[in-house]
């Protein structure tokens, strides 16, 4: 029976469908502008057919809404014939007339012709005419005419008919733009309308009242205070009040202890009987600035109720709001996890996706496996854009719980193999890239997944990207050989672009893994006859390079493996052996091996890049480090061996190679003199300004190295044996001059460096000022021969003074959890003090200034001061020389006269380091 009836039912439905297919035509089918304009002539008939006119107007309106436009003449013609329709008393036709006037609305000097008719309608007895006439009139009126109709509008605001009253109020909103003063005069009437019993009127009146006062913050605040106490029943109006309230809250500066203004009101709205109001209030609470979890609590509980509502819109709104909370306060919404897990199977996919992504944010490490299982069930039937959201959430989760990378990367690679568009696949690949980059353990499995993926990847772009990554990351893995098969398969099977990428990737394995080189070469030889030019070119180039590399190896395999030594070190040690005493036999063991050297360099750059995380300071530092000749100049080896000599004398322990930080380059010659050098060298030969010198201070654990970079700017001159003698002119005795490395010859137009090395007493943080004198031998070039003269003369030139600053002892570092780090440092090594900074434009300026002075890294985004704040805390973190952590809390306050006061509390492992921070502040 049941089956039968179902079949019957479906049949009848089918039948009806077929029937309607036959008879159903869109009433708007085949409407064509020209024809309709012809038809519009019926408006001019002396005997009007109201029904026909209505139909024609409907067609005209349809055309307008479909994006058809009328020419100026057409619009004018239609408009004037429409005005003739005012003679008809048919109210339906009149309604259409109002609509079409607003729609075609020709130029203002023509549209004015209907003014009188509209004014008549505005005072008519028919409410329908009155409300519509008000709306049309206000949309066509100009400032001059407004004066004439204002009286009627004002009256209409308090009309007992709600439609008329609303029409007047909404018109008021539009008129504010034309003539705000006139609308402001209605405030008594508007106030009366707010108390109307009709919800729509209430809502419109409220909007208008707020709009009028919008520009006056104080008035808005007053209005809101008054409204929260009044008895507004319209849910829409209540929602508006909530919005105004949150606006006022966001503009008030929060005082530390006082409760947030209006919070009670918002909390009260959560108990409103209208769901719309409840939701609006919850949203307002969520969006409060620096909302506490206690404040969130009531909002979260109503949202939790909504989660199990039968209305999809409420479920969606709730899960969306909770998702938003989860971004900042994931802990506050963990209570809702169970409800959200039910939503994963929600019919509405938007709700399900939001639920999943929220759960991924709030979930703890233990629930990940379970979640992943649930997601994999549902992920196949959602759309790509939702999948992308899920993928991004998983990426974030993986970075949050690195231990779970295996599960998460597995999941990603599974969905990577499923159906999906380019954007989706790209999102997954990007996520895996990001995970590989940030979680070292995930690198091997990640690369394996990716290389399996390219076996069957339809997107050339992604394949090339993955091949590139395999090329750059693969050789460093424990078993590079396994990737070669995957890569070479691409060369055999894919299109030219991928083949080319694969060859580049292969060659990287060949270059970096000597053991695989011959095998890679064999593979590359096969590519030399590829049909594509680019592929062939790349193959040829890499074959050449790799062959050269392997030849090199064979040549040197029987000798001392020269390449294993740092060539520069070797050269300089030989040099010093020859020039020094040759009594003892030369030992190569003094020369560092290349790998050792690169390790040191690696170490240095690693530390620099560690400091360089998102920090502009450190970028400066690393760039000044790169600019420094410490590494690049051949002198580095001399410099290195000098340290070696020292270390053999055990005055510097090897540990102290470790470099702390380098200052930014400071120019020691005035920029102006450089120009002058170019203009007239004779003058400067006599005053001995021959070169351009900049200084970089390199701070080591127990040494300070001043590097002077010099450039000869005069062609007719040779400068030799350059050194700088430094003398401390300010500061206590904590440095002892160790040695000086002179520069043999100042290069012309290029930089050469001379160094002065001081031993530093560890644990002493002092500043110092040095006077510097550049000493050199100057030889003139004989213009006839172009050769420098034999005899030169010694000369010297006083440089600007060089400072060793207190900030040089500090380096910015980023830490993820300031509070944890802070608590781990003992209170005993805390040092705090108050400072008066004086007048500033705002707190942001003061904060930036202090950050600049201390030179530490602002943490957790606290360097940004919210607008209008009167107080702010900034957290700074840094490392002091000796690798001891320094943490600084700064509290800023702004008084009425814009005077800024600040309290600085510093903690570190040692009290004297905390004091260093205060010394920096008080010195500047």
């Amino acid at each position: 029976m049941v089956e039968n009836s179902i079949i019957l039912g479906s049949e009848s439905v089918k039948k009806r469908d077929e029937d309607s297919d036959d008879v159903y035509y869109s009433p708007f089918w085949g409407i064509e502008k020209g024809a309709v304009l012809q038809e519009a002539r019926c408006f001019n008939d002396s005997q009007l057919d109201a029904r026909r006119c209505q139909q024609v107007i409907t067609k005209l309106l349809y055309l307008c809404n479909q994006g058809d436009t009328f020419t100026k003449t057409e619009a004018t013609e239609v408009f004037f014939s429409v005005t003739k329709l005012f003679q008809s008393k048919d109210s339906n036709l009149r309604r259409m007339v109002y609509l079409i006037i607003k729609e075609v609305c020709p130029s203002s000097d023509e549209v004015i012709i209907v003014t009188s008719s509209l004014m008549k309608d505005m005072n008519s007895k028919v409410d329908l005419y009155r409300s519509n006439a008000i709306r049309v009139l206000c949309s066509i009126t100009d400032a001059g005419l407004l004066g004439q109709i204002e009286r009627y509008l004002k009256q209409a605001v308090v009309d007992k008919n709600s439609v008329v009253s609303s029409a007047a109020l909404v018109s008021g909103l539009h008129l504010l733009k034309i003539n705000a003063d006139i609308v402001r005069r209605w405030s008594n009437e508007i106030q009366e309308a707010i108390n109307s019993s009709h919800p729509m009127v209430q809502f419109h009146a409220l909007s208008l009242l707020h709009q009028i006062r919008q520009s006056d913050r104080l008035a808005v605040s007053k209005l809101v205070t008054q409204l929260t106490k009044s008895n507004i029943r319209s849910p829409l109006a209540q929602c508006s009040i909530i919005r105004y309230v949150s606006q006022v809250i966001s503009q008030t500066v929060p005082s530390d202890n006082a409760p947030r203004p209006f919070f009670d009101f918002l909390e009260g709205c959560l108990r409103n009987k209208s769901e719309m109001v409840i939701f609006e209030a919850a949203r307002a609470i969520i969006n409060l600035k620096e909302v506490t979890s206690r404040e969130l609590q009531p909002a979260v509980s109503v949202l939790q109720l909504f989660l199990s509502s039968s209305k999809p819109v409420l479920r969606f709104g709730a899960v969306r709001a909770i998702n938003q909370i989860a971004l900042k306060n994931p802990l506050s919404v963990t209570n809702c996890n169970l409800d959200m897990e039910n939503l994963i199977s929600d019919q509405n996919r938007s709700i399900a996706t939001l639920a999943i992504t929220t759960l991924l944010k709030t979930g703890n490490e233990s629930s990940i496996e379970r979640l992943m299982k649930q997601i994999s069930v549902f992920v196949s039937d959602i759309q790509d854009e939702f999948k992308i959201v899920v993928v991004q959430a998983i990426q974030t989760l993986c970075l949050k719980f690195p231990h779970k990378h295996r599960t998460l990367v597995n999941f990603l690679s599974n969905i990577l193999r499923e159906e999906g568009g380019f954007a989706f696949k790209k999102a997954i690949v990007d996520s895996i890239f990001c995970i590989i980059k940030n979680i070292p353990d995930a690198k091997d499995p990640g690369l394996t997944h990716l290389s399996e993926f390219i076996e069957d990847c339809e997107f050339t772009y992604l394949s090339s990207q993955i091949l590139h990554l395999l090329g750059s990351e693969g050789p460093q893995t424990t078993d590079p050989s396994k990737y070669i098969r995957y890569i070479y398969n691409r060369v055999v099977l894919e299109n030219a672009a991928i083949r080319a990428s694969a060859i580049s990737a292969l060659s990287k394995f060949g270059a970096e893994c000597p053991l695989l080189r011959s095998r890679v070469l064999t593979l590359l030889y096969r590519c030399l006859h590829d049909s594509d030019d680019e592929v062939r070119d790349r193959a040829t180039l890499y074959v050449q390079n790799l062959e050269k590399l392997s030849l090199h190896e064979v040549d040197n395999s029987n000798s001392h493996k020269v390449t294993d030594f740092a060539l520069q070190d070797l050269e300089s040690s030989l040099y010093s052996y020859i020039s020094g005493c040759t009594v003892s036999p030369y030992s190569i063991s003094n020369v560092r091996s290349a790998s050792q050297k690169s390790k040191t360099e690696h170490g240095i750059s690693k530390i620099l890049s560690k400091a360089g995380h998102d920090s502009s300071f450190s970028e400066d530092v690393s760039s000044s480090f790169e600019q420094s000749n410490l590494l690049s100049n051949p002198l580095f080896s001399v410099y290195g061996s000098v340290f070696k000599v020292c270390s053999s004398n055990s005055r510097i322990s090897p540990l102290n190679y470790f470099m702390f930080q380098s200052s930014k380059p400071i120019s020691l010659t005035e920029a102006e003199t450089e120009y002058k050098v170019n203009l007239s060298n004779i003058k400067f030969i006599s005053t001995h300004v021959l070169s351009q010198v900049t200084c970089i201070v390199h701070l080591f654990q127990s040494h300070v190295v001043f590097e002077f970079k010099c450039t000869n700017t005069i062609e007719e001159q040779v400068l030799e044996d350059i050194s700088v003698s430094m003398e401390m002119i300010e500061g206590v005795d904590f440095l002892a001059e160790n040695s000086t490395i002179s520069l043999d010859r100042m290069p012309l137009g290029d930089e050469g460096s001379t160094f002065v090395i001081f031993d530093r007493k560890e644990g002493v943080f002092e500043q110092a000022k040095f006077s510097c004198i550049l000493r050199f031998t100057s030889k003139e070039i004989d213009p006839a021969t172009g050769e420098p003269e034999e005899e030169g003369y010694d000369d010297e030139y006083t440089l600007e003074d060089v400072d060793l600053k207190l900030t040089d002892y500090l380096r910015p570092t980023n830490i993820s959890n300031f509070k944890k780090a802070w608590d781990s440092l003992s209170e005993e090594c805390e040092c705090s003090s108050d400072y008066d900074i004086g007048k500033r434009e705002g707190l942001q300026q003061a904060v930036e200034m202090v950050i600049n002075i201390i030179g530490c890294q602002p943490c957790e985004g606290t360097e940004a001061v919210p607008p209008n704040s009167r107080s702010h805390s900034t957290l700074l973190s840094g490392v002091c020389i000796g690798e001891s952590q320094v943490l600084i809390r700064t509290n800023f306050g702004l008084d009425e006269l814009n005077n800024v006061t600040m309290k600085i509390t510093a903690r570190s492992e040692r009290l004297d380091i905390s004091e260093l921070v205060h010394a920096i502040i008080s010195n500047s």
Binding site: N44, S46, F80, T83, K84, F86, Q87, D109, E110, I112, I113, V114, T115, S116, S117, M119, K120, L145, Q148
Partner: protein, 162 residues
């Protein structure tokens, strides 16, 4: 029948419509912005009147409402002799338009109750009505205030009702 009431501002067009439709004469009227549409039934004849605004900005739109009317009624302030030349120019300009070719014209010298109001003959001369050929032209001096000659006008109008 359908009439178009034309004339410079403050001539008395709206007052004429009011009087014809049986209303009271009101001393201070507000200027008509645009047009008024009025329908009355007089002597079993239904009259549709397009009462146009007389201000300059509306004058180029008069023609649009004269198309297809039974007669054009041109109302003139007979006491405002200064504006006779302007009134004449506007009238003749309108009569040139093809839309009103052959349409009968009734010229009304309104405000005849005023002391210095011109009489019909003066109006005919000042308006150079004799030059308007190809249509029936008639001229009366009326007063909307005292209802003087209004009935004569209606008589003339009902004669032309089709």
């Amino acid at each position: 029948m359908e009439l178009a009431l034309i004339g410079l501002q403050n001539a008395g067009k709206t007052s004429f419509v009011n009087v014809v439709s049986g209303g009271e004469f009101v001393e201070d009227m507000i200027p008509t912005v645009g047009f008024n549409m009025r329908k009355v039934t007089k002597n079993k004849v239904s009259i549709k009147m397009w009462d146009m605004g007389g201000q300059e900005r509306f004058r180029n739109m008069w023609e649009r409402y004269c198309r297809g009317v039974t007669a054009v009624v041109y109302v003139l302030d007979a006491a405002d002799k200064e504006n006779f030349p302007l009134a004449k120019t506007e009238l003749h300009a309108l009569m040139q338009k093809p839309a009103v070719a052959g349409v009968p014209l009734l010229v009304l010298g309104n405000k005849s109750d005023l002391k210095d109001a011109a009489d019909a003959r003066t109006v005919i001369d000042a308006m150079e009505l004799r030059r308007l050929s190809g249509r029936e032209v008639c001229c009366y001096c009326i007063s909307c205030k005292s209802q003087h000659n209004v009935d004569v006008c209606l008589e003339w109008l009902s004669k032309h009702a089709k």
